[in-house]
């Protein structure tokens, strides 16, 4: 069962997620954590690296599944930096499928008025946060006064915050600048913001969190300020469900993920496979009509095997990047032009290729392949169509076979032949009908 990790805000605890988790039902195995120094955990003085390391230990201690992280405020900074480590091939974070940020602290220094920071640090001057200080903190961060007993719970959590954890975050961690390490992330992200939040409101989210995610959208929740899980648990749960469900649906199988996370795989290999499993970046070479024809072509070349829209987007991205496969037919123009002309001509020959039945599409391709198509007046001639279709078949097959999901489908484990240790593992057995224990993926789950 897929896992959802919940990372709470400063001064909160795992309890802040109770109603959200109730609203998620059987979406996955929900793991709400107490950050070190909060809730029931012992006080600790961890910098940002320490917090992400702590989270890594939490994830890697559990059986490897596809997982999502939901980070609220302070927890959001940890979530984004965990996603960055997953991108970079950190085995502890392998399998991350989706990120949800709620009023999240960004990788950049968190915008915070210095007076307010000093005030909040000052609350510990007398040894502990007082009840009135905690109440003012909770009330200042909610759009409307929370109903009881939630308000009392939220106040009590603030009061029991560890001094070192509280001041460590305010004095140091929230100021640490991790923008470069966060870079650009491909994991799908949902950025949720309270309509009445202050420093971490919509503007800050668009400015400081959104640029780190290339596949992200921002959702503003009305009737909430900063304490979203308390203020609008049903709305938050619905947003999480909508975002995470499709991500889990395309997740790699758990045994495959366990192998990917193992020390048989190098960080670099894990990183490239993680990146490739994510949705491709938006291409810009093909028109929407060309993209639709390409998707139909993918569906005809690899029926039922490839996700046509996804693969078409990958080819568009490849064409947009200008990085091809090192050669092309001398009788075809440059790749981007050849694909555009080929798709246009195919569409014209079929008078709407995408709208044709699979059998009709197949027949059009047959005519192109045997060199008998007559694309009079079209961008590509008969010979070019034949060459381009061969190129298109090869590229579609190449992109599809390289997907980690395809490797899982065909039972390929050749990526797991050597980690980063001084001695690589390789294969001990190479003869037919022999298999090593680690290769028995079906038995690992």
């Amino acid at each position: 069962m897929a896992q959802l990790y919940f990372l709470h805000a400063l001064g909160a605890s795992a309890r802040e997620w109770d109603e959200v988790i109730t609203g998620l039902g059987d979406l996955g195995d929900c793991v709400a954590l107490d950050l070190p120094g909060f809730g029931d955990s012992a006080d600790a003085d961890l910098d940002v690296v320490g917090l992400v390391d702590w989270f890594a230990a939490q994830v890697s201690a559990r059986e490897r599944q596809s997982w999502a992280v939901i980070g609220h405020s302070m927890g959001g900074k940890i979530a984004t930096l965990a996603a960055a480590r997953a991108r970079d091939g950190d085995p502890d974070f392998a399998g991350l499928a989706a990120v949800v940020l709620l009023a999240a602290s960004p990788p950049a220094p968190e915008p915070m008025a210095e007076e307010r920071r000093a005030d909040m640090i000052g609350w510990f001057a007398d040894g502990r946060i007082g009840a009135d200080e905690a109440a003012s903190f909770v009330d200042a961060n909610t759009a409307h006064r929370l109903p009881e007993p939630l308000r009392a719970q939220a106040i009590a959590d603030v009061e029991r915050s560890g001094r070192r954890a509280w001041t460590g975050w305010l004095e140091r961690d929230s100021r640490e600048d991790w923008q470069a390490a966060a870079g650009t992330l491909s994991v799908p992200a949902l950025i949720v913001v309270g309509g009445e939040d202050g420093d971490l409101g919509e503007d800050a989210q668009r400015r400081l969190n959104l640029p780190h995610y290339r596949d992200a959208r921002v959702e503003v929740v009305a009737g909430a300020a900063h304490l979203l899980p308390y203020e609008q648990p049903a709305a938050v749960a619905a947003l999480i469900r909508d975002h995470v469900t499709p991500a889990f649906a395309r997740a790699l199988p758990a045994p495959f993920l366990a192998l990917l996370a193992s020390d048989r795989v190098s960080r670099r290999t894990r990183a490239v496979m993680t990146e490739r499993h994510a949705a491709p970046p938006a291409g810009k070479m093909l028109s929407s009509q060309q993209r639709a024809v390409l998707a139909a072509l993918v569906e005809t070349v690899l029926p039922g095997a490839a996700d046509p829209v996804d693969l078409a987007a990958r080819i568009d991205a490849m064409l947009s990047s200008g990085v091809g496969d090192g050669w092309r037919s001398a009788d075809l123009p440059a790749d981007a032009e050849a694909w555009a002309s080929g798709l246009d001509t195919l569409d014209r020959l079929a008078d709407g290729f995408a709208e044709r039945t699979p059998a009709d599409r197949d027949q059009f391709l047959r005519v192109i392949d045997d060199g008998s198509c007559r694309p009079d007046g079209a961008a590509s001639d008969t010979g070019q169509m034949r060459l381009w279709f061969a190129e298109a078949r090869a590229e579609i097959a190449r992109q599809w076979m390289a997907l980690p999901a395809t490797m899982a489908r065909i039972g390929y484990d050749g990526f797991a032949v050597g980690g980063d240790g001084p001695h690589k593992q390789g294969y001990r057995l190479t003869a037919a009908d022999t298999i090593e224990d680690w290769q028995r993926l079906e038995a690992r789950a």
């Binding site: 490239v272 070349v301 001398a330 050597g418």
Partner: protein, 508 residues
Amino acid sequence: MSAAADTADVVIVGSGAGGAPLAARLAEAGVSVVVLEAGRAFRPDDHVADELAADIYWMEERLSGGADPTAFGANNSGMGVGGSTLHWGAFCPRPDARDLRLRSESGQGEDWPIAHDELIGYVDAVERFIGVSGPARYPWDAGRRYELPPVARNAPADAMARGCAALGIAATDAPAALVSRDRAQPHWGERQACINCGTCHQGCRTAAKATTDTSWLPLAVAHGAEVRAECRVVDIERGGSGRVSGVVYVRRGERRRLACRALFLCAGGVETPRLLLNLDLANSSGQVGRNFMAHVATQVWGRFDADMRMNRGYPSSLITEDMMRAADADHAGGYLIQSLGVMPVTLATNLARGTGLWGQALVDLLDDYNRLGGIGINGDCLPSDDNRLTLADETDAYGLRKARIDFSYGPNERAIDAHARKTMTAIWEAAGARDIFAVDRSAHTIGTCRMGSDGDRAVVDADGRSFDIDNLFICDNSVFPSALAANPALTIMALSLRTADRLLATRG
């Protein structure tokens, strides 16, 4: 341009099989050597077990024409310190004596201007230095010995052994330029024994496979040579006499000049002639770019009932040389057969392009990856006037015109292809394969600056020296007068040592 005087006795362009051995031998003799490599430097650990992410290939675009266009990109030239040896298959049969005298034997092709015995002396030196694993007894050369025992056979190798045995064809463990036991490499360190990971073409992560960056180049550097990575040579300067006076290269956007007394082009069968044609140098014969050859590399595939998982193990672990001169041959020359372990992306790309399959049949085939097995050939290719490298009108990022390579099989290549299909299909049937099919393929970039004794018919002499410019040398597969059936890298390294010795001998 750099203001400081930058100079070397010898500048070598390219750090692969052609450039690296001679860099080592010249440096050992006290010559000051600078090797310029277009790609970057890697540690073995940097390589990645992923076909799309592997970044050791020459991926700049080439145009391929003719009736049998050959594929480039990941299929041929390499980029990086180590050149193509970074991704080569390490399959290293020796050049056959008959192939070097093909014209004398058959009236077709060309003879080499170098005696086989002399070449084999250098082959032997190369093998001893890089470490080759092979069988205790080589059926086609009784006296041959390999330093290291063979690496493990994989499932396609076992199938091929079975099929060959049933047909009375001799087959044995392939000579492979990788170490089957841990082995100390002078001036580099310990190369770990092959772990059967199967990713030779993505870059060897244990240094078991012989690459020049873990063998010849450390030797060269230990003797004072300098290897400069990420240096793209874009111009060759000449003095008043017409002799080469230096090269101009671009490193991270900056143009630099390096003076030299002699220049060696070792950039491979495409980039070496492309540079000469772009600069209009050393081509009074009109032979630069001509006689491009690619090995006939037909493959035969089939499904097995057994779980093959052919990505495991050294990919080409079995060989037969029985078809080097087949009794029923209707062609000049011959071919080697090897078992194949092909990674999924390469296989999918080749099958989608080469079989003409799509739809459910293609999906079913690719889904069956773990049950597929293949064998393939490396067949001789005759030089032909019709096959040549020319310059396209399009230019690259450095303003140099791209290469266009036109390649078509002639009657002899077609005959080899047909003979091989028949032979391999029979072997695969005998091995128990079902649904057998063949895939057209050619491999390696050979010829284009051939060596010979006549300056009207060749670009360089037998010592690799240009007939036009006496301090310009070429040493890579572009100087091959004929393709030879053997995979080229071992022969290129042997030629490289010989070229160095010839230069040293004439130095006085």
